[in-house]
């Protein structure tokens, strides 16, 4: 259970160009992350705190297959993204890079900057006076990848285990 996270509330169709602006794609991940979401919320990169959670509408991460869209959020310490739906390649990239992602039909009533606690095991999100909102938990198989920190560490662990037997 995450003690207390701040919610950053975003709309529909947040695209990979907003998350990882093309003109910083050859810059360092630090510099790229400093411009993450600036076209949507100018203050985001400067004010977001490790452990904060993004809550968005539908089709989060639409656009290109660039993995930097996920890397920028991770770099800034975003603990999870909760959205009505995700663009397919973004969802895959998030799992493969170890960023927890939850689908949730009920994001409309969650207010920007509210304080919340997320149980990444069950997908239960406690939001102040709203009480508990149920997000769809990640399927166990995908959660195992996220828990290991992403596909590469997940495979490293698996290969090490295979080598040990």
């Amino acid at each position: 259970m995450n003690a207390s996270s701040k919610i950053w509330k975003l709309g529909d169709d947040i695209d990979t160009d907003s998350l990882a602006p093309g003109r910083f794609m050859n810059a360092s991940i630090d510099e790229l992350a400093a411009h993450c979401l600036e076209t949507v919320r100018l203050e985001f990169a400067a004010e977001v705190q490790p452990g904060d959670i993004i809550v968005a509408g539908s089709n989060f991460g639409v656009g290109s297959s660039r993995e930097q869209a996920v890397e920028a959020l991770k770099q800034l310490g975003v603990a999870a993204v909760i959205a009505k739906s995700f663009a397919g390649i973004f969802y895959r990239n998030a799992i493969n890079l170890g960023l927890p992602v939850f689908e949730c039909a009920d994001t409309d009533r969650i207010a920007d900057r509210s304080t919340a606690s997320l149980d990444v095991e069950t997908g239960k999100l406690g939001v102040g006076e709203l009480g508990i909102i149920d997000c769809t938990p990640m399927p166990a198989f995908l959660k195992a990848i996220v828990d290991d920190g992403g596909l590469v560490p997940h495979l490293e662990k698996r290969f090490a285990a295979e080598a040990g037997t």
């Binding site: 169709d13 160009d17 093309g22 089709n59 639409v62 290109s64 297959s65 660039r66 993995e67 739906s85 663009a87 397919g88 390649i89 969802y91 895959r92 990239n93 493969n96 890079l97 399927p139 198989f141 995908l142 992403g150 596909l151 590469v152 495979l155 490293e156 290969f159």
Partner: protein
């Protein structure tokens, strides 16, 4: 239970008798394709970290097309890494500067109905034209596939797009997709399997089907399938791939689909998508008269042999307008060679076109012919996002090879039916 084509292929790949939409499965990959941009330079460090070589060097195809020709220090280094990695891993299927990956892969006989294939590029759904379940993945995930030969997949629902009727002359698959995307939006495919069916689809030649499947990327589908038929089998046969019995690779009649959209090909006019989204498509008349500086016939989407033939049919005996530059970048060397024997390449040159290498070129925003400030271009490519093909102030209109050729002659966006009737 009745199954969709997508379910049947995924069931086979995952070794299950059947699979249900929403289920997460682990599938064995029949083939993995990578190119010079997202390929060796990105996956090599990950494989080294994992301490693994590729799972099966007979199931990997490497094609260089993005940083081609390599004329800077950086790009030469990328091509060197690519060649060295191919040699070190013993990959035999290496096509160096012979054309764009999505076109070279099937023309060299690597795809067949019922296969389950991943590509390290977002236009990988192109392979769906052959009844292959093919989709694009990022570099990290590709490294995982190369190490293990497996990938996880959420079994998709199927969205069926049905085209009835008959296309008019000078209307093409590109127009069908621009119209579909304008109606359903760039997330109309919802990352599910899109399947194209109906008489107007069956009537399309193979490379036109590839154009449909290719632009499933802009429609937001994971893949864009067309069930194989005699057109498919004959085309592959000619490229050394015998297909055998493909009768099982179709959706069962009563298989459940998530959505079904019906369009009438008989009523479709040539389409043009205005900057900066493929979803901004409308009939050409809306934009006709808009002046242009550059016409581009290129990309996996719009410079295959059939695309070149379409453009040539308009350009024959004509010259481009004095205010326009026309670039033609044939999608593969093989297609260019055939075009050569048909007199098409000569016809392009006589019309005043500049011929560019068999590579992604301007479509990837690469090379000296990138669009400059305030340049307006009409293009046979798939994407017109701001700045993709050059300067942020440049504008790209998307259209079919017929419409791009007609516009090059007119010096403004023009309806190919008017230009063709005008001789």
């Amino acid at each position: 239970m009745a199954q969709t084509l997508a379910q049947k292929i995924i069931a086979k790949a995952s070794g299950a008798p059947s699979v249900a939409p929403g289920e997460i499965v682990i599938a064995n990959v029949d083939l993995a394709m990578i190119h010079d941009s997202g390929g060796p330079r990105r996956v090599k460090p990950i494989l080294e970290r994992l301490g693994r070589n590729v799972w099966d060097n007979d199931k990997i195809v490497v094609i260089t097309d993005h940083f081609v020709p390599a004329d800077t220090e950086d790009t030469r280094a990328i091509q060197r890494i690519t060649r060295e990695w191919v040699a070190a891993e013993g990959v035999k299927a290496f096509y160096d500067q012979m054309g764009i990956c999505h076109v070279v892969l099937p023309e060299q006989g690597y795809l067949a109905p019922g296969m389950f294939v991943v590509g390290g590029d977002s236009h990988s759904p192109t392979g769906g034209a052959f009844g292959t379940y093919m989709f694009g993945i990022g570099a990290t995930e590709m490294a995982g596939v190369l190490a293990t030969g497996k990938i996880w997949l959420k079994v998709p629902e199927t969205i069926r797009i049905e085209w009835t009727g008959v296309l008019d002359p000078l209307v093409s698959a590109k127009d069908m997709m621009l119209h579909t995307i304008s109606q359903l939006g760039m997330d109309g495919g919802r990352y599910q399997a899109v399947e194209y069916v109906g008489p107007a689809i069956s009537a399309l030649p193979m490379q036109e089907r590839m154009t449909l499947a290719n632009m499933t990327a802009e429609l937001g589908g994971q893949t864009g399938l067309i069930a194989p038929d005699k057109t498919t089998a004959d085309w592959l046969q000619k490229r050394g791939r015998s297909v055998g019995d493909y009768s099982m690779w179709h959706s069962d009649d009563d298989a459940l689909v998530l959505a079904r959209h019906v369009f009438d090909a008989s009523r479709l006019a040539p389409q043009v998508a205005a900057p900066h989204s493929p979803a901004n498509a409308a009939p050409v008349e809306i934009h006709s008269g808009t002046s242009i500086d550059v016409a581009y016939i290129g990309a996996c989407t719009g410079a295959k042999l059939d695309d070149l033939r379409m453009a040539a049919s308009i350009l024959r005996g004509r010259r481009l307008a004095s205010n326009v530059r026309l670039f033609v970048a044939p999608a593969s060397r093989r297609d260019q060679d055939i075009a050569e024997t048909e007199g098409i390449m000569q016809l392009f040159e006589e019309a005043g076109a500049d011929i560019l290498p068999n590579a992604c070129g301007i479509c990837a925003g690469y090379g000296g012919n990138r669009l400059g400030e305030d340049i307006r271009c009409i293009s046979t490519t798939a994407r017109n996002f701001r700045g993709r093909m050059g300067a942020a102030s440049s504008e790209v209109y998307l259209a079919s090879p017929y419409t791009v050729a007609a516009s090059a002659i007119a010096g403004r966006i023009a309806d190919p039916r008017e230009i063709a009737g005008d001789s």
